[in-house]
């Protein structure tokens, strides 16, 4: 009986303690910008899901590629149909780890380096990028900007429109995470 009570006490304790290690968000903003001689292309989604384990430093991002909104509907169609082929590769996913993990239980702003694999358009590539984590009580704000070379992910730009699409695209991530329930 004594053991059982101990067990009952211990279970929620264990759950509570560990759950606070994981911060998550279901509406991380993701945008990209491509500057090319003919026209600039920018698109945004706020439907990226992400989680960070502040104890282990594990980082995860996932986005349904067809949620990206473009200002020009034809561009959005070409992006999904011809370039990212979202019918074949519906999601882009990043799994990584924070290197030199700071103590993220303490409020403050930390510049971190994340290393991991971006799986996009069926091609996995390792990235090592800088980001900023702003820890407050009960939330963590995450932001990062990095470059993706479209050719690295086997996204082919026909010679005909090569002036319309940049070879390197700037990607911006920003989101506010709360402790995962």
């Amino acid at each position: 009986m004594k053991h059982l009570i101990l067990l009952m006490l211990c279970l929620p304790l264990a759950l509570g303690a560990t759950a606070q290690d994981v911060y998550a968000s279901r509406n991380v903003s993701l945008s990209f910008f491509s500057k090319a001689p003919m026209e600039d292309i920018d698109a945004k989604t706020t439907q990226c899901v992400s989680a960070i384990n502040i104890k282990t430093g594990a980082v995860y991002f996932k986005v349904a590629v067809n949620t990206f909104q473009f200002k020009k509907s034809l561009m959005q169609e070409h992006f999904n149909e011809n370039y990212l082929e979202t019918h074949k590769f519906p999601n882009a996913e990043f799994k990584g780890k924070l290197l030199d993990l700071p103590d993220l239980t303490k409020p403050g702003t930390y510049t971190v380096t994340v290393e991991g694999t971006l799986d996009m358009h069926g091609v996995k590539k390792t990235y090592r990028e800088k980001g900023t984590l702003t820890v407050a009580v009960g939330s963590i704000a995450v932001s990062s900007t990095f470059k993706v070379r479209v050719a690295d992910h086997n996204i082919k730009i026909p010679r005909l429109v090569v002036k319309n699409i940049a070879e390197v695209v700037d990607v911006t991530v920003s989101g506010k995470y709360a402790p995962a329930k």
Partner: protein, 312 residues
Amino acid sequence: MSFVKILFAACLLPAACYAQDDLSGMFKDSAKRSLPVIATFKSTRIINGQSNETLGKNELDFRVGHRFGDMAGSNGGAKTFFGMDNSTDIRIAFEYGVSDNLTVGIGRSKGSGNLSQLYEGLVKYRLLQQTTDNRIPLAITLFGNAVVSAMESAEEEASPAYFGKFSDRMSYTAQAVLARQFGHAFSLAVLPTYVHRNRVGYADMNGMFALGVGGRLRFTNRLALVVDYFVPFRDQASKDFAKTQGMEYYNSLGVGLEIETGGHVFHVNFTNSTATLENQFIPETTSTWTNGQFRWGFNISRRFDLDRKHKH
């Protein structure tokens, strides 16, 4: 001893779940999202017929349709360079997206049938868009046009081109496009249609129902096979009378190759119908594939985004 073990394990179990570096399990449900199906067809036309697609808001579509003469038969062959010396119909049109769901357009067609020199006004409205989760399994778009002929009236009153009053120059189409994308490579459309011509020849029909079917099969991201076929429901008396005049009506069949180059959509097609407008190719197709009375033609669509706010 065993209790301690259980206690230990129980404490570790949830920790173990979270301690895993794979956090993807937290979002297993995030993929089940309802999104509109895009690009059921690549263009607002299949070949002759309409597709369910409308233009985006503030988009302008400049369209040119061209049908050459008979490839073979008595009017084709080498002497007309397989029909290329002739053109049965030419259409030039501007269509504009008032909103993502509403397209309006104006066009000028040479016309090939009873009337020529045709000015067309069209409206297309997207009622329903198919969704990826099949919550809406079918796309429904409504199409309507009004066409006026600017040609000179015929002399003899029996002619369908005799205009006693202005309204004799008018004809109309009302159509629903029911379309669905199956998988990613194949799209199918069914088009119940009503065509009304104010002025027709003796024993011809002013109002006529028709049913169209159209399909698109993708080979690659930029290349597809497109087909459309229209069956007009012409009554027997009308068919019989036409035969006494040495004329026969046929169903319109178009087969084409669709090439998309990013902004341009280019069709190379073969059809037995000579006209480009619903008001004519549905009720007035009198040429047939079997007599070599088919022609090659092309549709060119160039879309422009007119919204200045989009420029940087």
